[in-house]
Amino acid sequence: MKPCFFIPALLFYTGVFAKTIHVGANQLYKNITSAVADAAAGDTLLVDAGHYREKNLIIKKSIVLRGLNYPVLDGENKYEIISVMANGVIIDGFRVVHSGISSLEDLSGIKIYDCKNVIVKNNLLEDTFFGIYSQNSTNCTIENNGLTATSKEEQQSGNGIHCWKSDSLRILGNKITGHRDGIYFEFVKNSIIWRNTSTKNIRYGLHFMFSNDDMYVSNVFSNNGSGVSVMFSNRIKMFSNYFEENWGDASHGILLKEISDGYMQGNYFARNTSAIYMEGANRIFMAYNTFANNGWALKIQASCMDVVLEHNNFTGNTFDVGTNGSLVQNTFNHNYWDKYEGYDLNKDKIGDVPYRPVSMYSMIVEKYPPAMILFRSFITSLLDKTEKILPSLTPENLKDNAPLMKKAF
């Protein structure tokens, strides 16, 4: 967190000779564009509350733009509202509304072009196509913004926080709802996503592609069209996030596709159709995660290798683990499964017989989805029971050899 405070401090320090410019209906400058034109690097613009139609406000100087009581910047459904093209710009406390919509350009509420050390914080963005856009930027902070879009269709809506080809970003404490993807990362390195809430977005709460060495912590992703998708990335760390109520056949708490060397700990998955869907995932370590009341806690395709699950809690899931093949190269150990019916004679709190988290019926449903309608009927429980005694369909070595008798944490 330190750099975050460090940057403004640096700015104040260099701004000893900087001046403060007031903008507002009762001030010398009636609009922001004229004030920006007269400002010098290091100046601070204080903008009074009011309704400003600045068309496309382009900032090419390192200035601080601060709104008092959320002045409204209106894009009149035609323009990109703020374009930042200088290093060290701070945009703080605006209400940015009605950006244009274009299928050719990614018109945004606030867009950062090829800059460093830009801070966008405490803004409210409403009805923008893209919300806050970072293009080819480094060491920027996007903090405490609220983004709300209202489009119903994917084509009519851009992403909330869209980061492309950037490095060392900090995305902190934003609330995003109603966009196509809540947070979008493509070719972004060494960045952190922390304490954001991304709900009810049309497609993904978080969309992550070709981005290595990133980390996301303590975010809430709920009720998104397709949950969270993390694809083609390496060395991603995921801690203490909430994935909730992502419902639908193609919807997952989190989709992990072609991911290597990931680390997931302390995440909480509740009431998702499938909490984790893994395809081509390698060397993922998952520990101390909670899977509660999901349709499938884990759908792990046969293309996954060396996925390790330890000390996770599985409770109230309809199916614990689903898979499509019989070859299993993943390890389950010391997890708590509420469906475990084994015993613990030596009282070491570890079940004496292995637990097989793949039920016969989950294999059947995987193949013939309409069979779901027979779930929990007498015949299916019979099938499951016989399968437990004589495994034939379920993968032989997909099992937890040391299931816990009590919750792992």
Binding site: G316, M372, I373, L374
Partner: protein
């Protein structure tokens, strides 16, 4: 006329249900898991007890029914009072045995659905039992038929459906499945509860089809109407049969 049933078996059934549901709820730390175990009791034991008990009861009171027929009473009245008597007592048993524990431990939508569905199942299987008894004169045959019917509804039917499913795996089976499920009151009840219990899994594409149907008010209305039809039709038909039956 209706208070014929202060039967020892009903009492035992009540106590059994009570013990089962109480232990299920107190043994499981997670009360929704208790509900699951209770679901099995409701879907298997309730129909079984309802159908067997009613069949045996009707056969055992054959002579008394004869006596009643010789009285100035409409046969319809006799048969319907027998039906109400049986269903009322089994309902009371079910409600005390399973309903009250559910209300104590799980007064949620799931709990209410479960009670509603269990009650309907009790009545449905009384109706089916009475149909079985009116069709067969021989007691042993009748009880056999009742057991077969129960086996069919709780096991064989689902087996057939599963078989059909595998056979027609290449076709879109979601819609026909809804129609097929209406042919078995136990399936219908199970789906109604499933929609509340496994809502996450039911939200998958196929599940969503079911959910879209059964989850809507029309769907729920349809299901309950079908269940009530499952009561009305056997009762209507067996009353008709009983009206012209030689005793």
């Amino acid at each position: 006329m209706t208070d014929i049933l202060r039967n020892r078996i009903v009492l035992v059934y009540t106590l059994f249900l009570l013990a089962a549901s109480l232990s299920v709820f107190s043994l499981e730390d997670n009360s929704s898991k208790g509900l699951l175990s209770l679901l099995n009791i409701i879907l298997i034991v309730v129909p079984l007890v309802s159908i067997i008990f009613s069949t045996i009861y009707v056969y055992n009171s054959a002579e008394f029914i004869e006596l009643l027929v010789s009285q100035p009473l409409k046969r319809k009245t006799i048969w319907l009072s027998l039906f109400t008597g049986l269903s009322a007592s089994l309902l009371v048993a079910f409600f005390i045995g399973a309903g009250i524990p559910v209300l104590i431990y799980q007064a949620t939508m799931i709990g209410f659905t479960m009670i509603a569905v269990g009650s309907l199942l009790s009545i449905i299987f009384v109706a089916i039992a009475m149909l079985a008894t009116v069709k067969t004169r021989d007691k042993a045959k009748g009880i056999g038929a009742a057991i077969m019917l129960w086996l069919y509804f709780s096991l064989l039917f689902d087996g057939l459906v599963l078989f059909l499913l595998f056979q027609f795996a290449d076709y879109p089976m979601e819609k026909p499945m809804i129609a097929i499920s209406a042919l078995n009151p136990i399936d219908l009840s199970r789906i109604l509860i499933l929609l509340q219990l496994d809502v996450s899994a039911m939200m998958g594409y196929t599940g969503a089809v079911f959910k879209d149907f059964f989850g809507t008010y029309t769907g729920i209305g349809f299901s309950f109407a079908t269940l009530i039809l499952w009561i009305a039709l056997p009762v209507w038909y067996s009353t008709r049969k009983f009206n012209t039956k030689d005793l």
